[in-house]
């Protein structure tokens, strides 16, 4: 029986592989010629070409078009109908009496969004990393129903950001679930989404709730890759758990922590969807972030300004490039230190 199954399996494999073999045979002669002409680098370029083409069409080309838009003015949609204005849009964004006080800027909402985003990034990234680490450490222990708890923490990641925003809006609005509970317990209701500090705090907490499962999973994978014998040896030496965490867990988890930190940072700079649904950027402009500013200027207002929106998004893209380069630099330095580089 087992032999028959193996034979069947082999036959099925051969049938599936037949077209692949045919394709390989067809490509083999021209590839050999290509390799002869261009050497190993040429082959590398050949195999990278499809990916680079996708990257070029969907990332580089839009980036170039976006930059071109940022040098134009007017309300027309197509580049050919737009007026070349040089760096006017950038000049408008940077016209400020003081960058520390958005009110004195020509585009005060842009600088308000910049400062809001900066504060959000600092607080959210710190909180997200700490909560993800704690969650991963707890889920790595021998808990009862461990798989269930892992699923519970990961579940919000599967939700659409709009759903996340709506759920929390229903909870936090004045007639929401939270205030209902507070009134039942004899407390005064609070306008969570109409008070500046509460709304900003809610934006941070909701985004942490929505994404922490993903980052905890990355850290959990890192924790499980740490050899158990290191902990056993430390235990035999009588090392305290706190010291084991600082001396074994944290250093060996550093690469994963770096990934989490960078991904969280980039995601935090781009924050938009769930916060837009939750607070709409309010109260006032206290949760207005850069992406929402770009969306409002470029798409949402009835008289759109694609040039200004493009200039703002190019600046935001610049920030993200810098953050990515820093990440690459740190990762490379770590590899060099560990002797892999």
């Amino acid at each position: 029986m087992a032999n028959a199954l193996t034979t069947l399996n082999e036959k099925a494999g051969a049938m599936i592989m037949a077209p692949v073999r045919l394709l390989a045979m067809a490509f083999d002669p021209p590839l050999r010629v290509w390799q002869k002409w261009t050497g190993q680098n040429g082959m590398a370029a050949f195999f990278l070409a499809p990916n680079l083409a996708v990257f070029g069409i969907f990332v580089l080309f839009p980036l170039f078009i976006n930059f071109a838009y940022s040098m134009t003015g007017g309300a027309a949609l197509f580049l050919e109908d737009r007026v070349y204005v040089g760096a006017d849009q950038y000049q408008r964004l940077f016209t400020c009496a003081s960058y520390l006080d958005p009110k004195g800027c020509a585009e005060d909402l842009f600088w308000t969004a910049v400062w809001n985003t900066g504060l959000f990034v600092v607080l959210q990234v710190a909180l997200m990393t700490i909560v993800a680490l704690i969650t991963a450490l707890v889920l790595n222990r021998d808990l009862r129903a461990r798989s269930f708890w892992r699923a519970v923490f990961f579940f919000p990641v599967l939700l659409s950001p709009v759903v996340v925003g709506l759920i929390w809006r229903w909870i936090l609005q004045r007639q929401g679930l939270l205030n209902y509970g507070m009134i039942e317990m004899g407390f005064e209701p609070i306008s969570w989404l109409a008070e500046r500090n509460w709304a900003f705090t809610a934006a941070i907490l909701v985004s942490v709730w929505a994404h922490v499962g993903f980052y905890a999973l990355i850290l959990l994978a890192g924790l499980q890759a740490i050899p158990r014998d290191l902990y056993e040896a430390a235990e035999m030496d009588g090392t305290r758990p706190a010291r084991m965490f600082w001396r074994i867990t944290l250093p060996l988890l550093a690469p994963n922590l770096l990934v989490v930190l960078v991904l969280t940072l980039i995601r935090a700079v781009q924050i938009f969807d769930e916060v837009y649904v939750l607070t709409g950027g309010g109260p006032g402009t206290s949760t207005l972030f850069i992406t929402q500013y770009i969306y409002e200027v470029g798409f949402a207002s009835l008289l759109r300004n694609p040039g200004l929106a493009s200039a703002a998004s190019i600046l935001m893209g610049g920030v993200l490039v810098v953050l990515t380069l820093i990440q690459l630099g740190i990762a490379r330095r770590n590899e060099m230190r560990s002797g892999k580089g």
Binding site: G73, G74, A75, A76, L77, F78, L79, E80, D81, R82, V83, V85, K103, A106, D108, L109, Q173, R174, Q175, S191, L193, A194, R196, A199, T279, G280, G281, G282, P283, G284, T285, S286, T287, L288, Q292, E296, F299, A300, S301, L302, L303, R304, N305, G307, L308
Partner: protein, 423 residues
């Protein structure tokens, strides 16, 4: 670049799944209430009468009409017919139906009064017709006023009198707020006009914010700070985001709600017999008691490949008996002169609705000239956007009113400069 434009247009079309076959007529439609169902019935009837024309009714969210349709139109694509509210600013994209409808004189006679709202200045085109005329106005929760023992203010009561009366109801019935106004620059433009404001400058460009608008802005901010006006509607959003306050009124959380006639059907459906409500027209300011007219229009799109079929569909939907049926079933105020002149039997058992519709019809006589001019003015939405963005910042405590006035003028000036840049 022309090829690029065509390519992008084709992509936009396919993304919106709106490719139509020859002879097909695609209608982009949004609904506030039951009008989508009514329109579907009418379209089905049209197709029975005209078996050679296939009409596809795309029911979309209002946001799609506001944000995606303009992009499609710029790309030279889009549906064949659309129901829109931003009718003046996009007027260059509407199809002139004059050669495609059976009797242009009928259209001029019955819908002609609103054609200037939906065509470029100076044009003589027939772009479509208003599916409903709207008028901003207030609604009071009569049951709450009765329970509080507070009489409803009379016909010519001022904004201050309404807020004072609603405030007494708020205190008596322990409500969250006394009044609420939709978060919209359009909505506060009626009271602005009632306090003497005129947005339109001598050159038809936006004039600076005047004393009338400032007078009402001061009241709005004060009412919000005093807890009389529902803070959450205006404060808990940034920019031009629209936030209706209808849910607060439906849930009896406020005594007075300022919105407009298009809410009547929704109020009837959602409130049912829970409480009695009345339409009050617009409260008075220092110079008028005006509402702001407007509405939604059904327009042909000039990029259609099936203009003749579009003309037939529009002829059918603009027919007097069809407009009457649409009006009676949707509880909208009609634009058709023949329908207005005849008897309209609104299909509802709700006594509140019939009274409300009569009140709104009566309120149309009080529309101030400056308010009546706004629907045909292309810069209206620029003014509305600047007002709502900055006044809500003041309400949130981010800037004083004096700064907001400066910013409103700067915002409008920047938008106009940007929009009028030409190659």
């Amino acid at each position: 670049m022309t090829k690029m434009k065509s390519l992008l247009g084709a992509v936009a079309l396919s993304l919106c799944a709106s490719t139509a076959m020859a002879g097909d007529v695609r209608i982009m439609w949004y609904s506030d209430g039951v009008e989508g169902d009514v329109m579907k019935d009418l379209v089905d009837r049209f197709m029975k009468e005209n078996p050679g024309i296939n009409v596809i009714l795309d029911n979309v969210a209002y946001k799609v009409v506001q944000e995606q349709l303009p992009v499609e139109l710029e790309a030279g694509s889009g549906p064949d017919i659309a129901r829109v509210t931003n009718i003046k600013a996009l007027a260059d994209h509407w199809l002139d139906l004059t050669p495609h409808v059976a009797d242009p004189a009928y259209w001029q006679a019955n819908f002609g009064d609103q054609f200037d709202w939906m065509r470029p200045d100076g044009s003589t085109a027939i772009p479509g017709f208003m599916t409903q005329i709207t008028l901003t106005g207030g609604f009071a929760n009569k049951t709450l006023f009765d329970q509080a023992g507070v009489p409803l203010p009379g016909e010519n009561a001022t904004w201050d009198e309404w807020v004072e009366a609603a405030g007494k109801v708020q205190d008596s019935q322990k409500l969250n707020a006394a009044i609420a106004i939709d978060r919209s620059g359009h909505r506060i433009s009626a009271p602005n006009v009632s306090f003497g404001s005129n947005y339109i400058g001598a050159d038809r460009l936006p004039g600076p914010l005047d004393d009338g608008a400032k007078a009402f802005a001061e009241k709005l901010v004060k009412w919000t700070a005093d807890g009389r006006m529902n803070k959450e509607i205006w404060v808990s959003a940034a920019g031009t985001t629209y936030r209706p306050a209808i849910d607060d009124f439906v849930n009896a959380q406020i005594a007075y709600y300022y919105s407009g006639s298009w809410q009547i059907s929704a109020l009837s459906t959602k409130i049912g017999k829970n409480f009695d409500w009345v339409a009050t027209g617009s409260p008075c300011g220092s110079t008028a008691c005006s509402g702001l007219p407007g509405g939604a229009a059904l327009v042909g799109i000039k990029y259609t490949k099936n203009a003749a079929e579009v003309g037939k569909v529009m002829d059918f939907l603009g027919r007097e008996d069809i407009v009457r049926e649409f009006t009676e079933r949707t509880l909208f105020l009609p634009a058709h002169k023949g329908v207005i002149a005849g008897k309209i039997d609104f299909k509802t058992d709700d006594a509140n609705v019939k009274a409300a519709l009569e009140n709104f019809v009566a309120a149309t006589t009080k529309v101030h000239l400056n308010a009546g001019a706004l629907p045909a003015w292309k810069w209206g939405s620029v003014y509305y956007g600047a007002l709502v963005t900055r006044i809500s910042q003041v309400m949130a405590g981010e800037m004083p009113l004096a700064d907001a006035y400066v910013k409103i003028d700067e915002d409008i000036k920047a938008k106009v400069e940007e929009a009028t840049k030409k190659q």
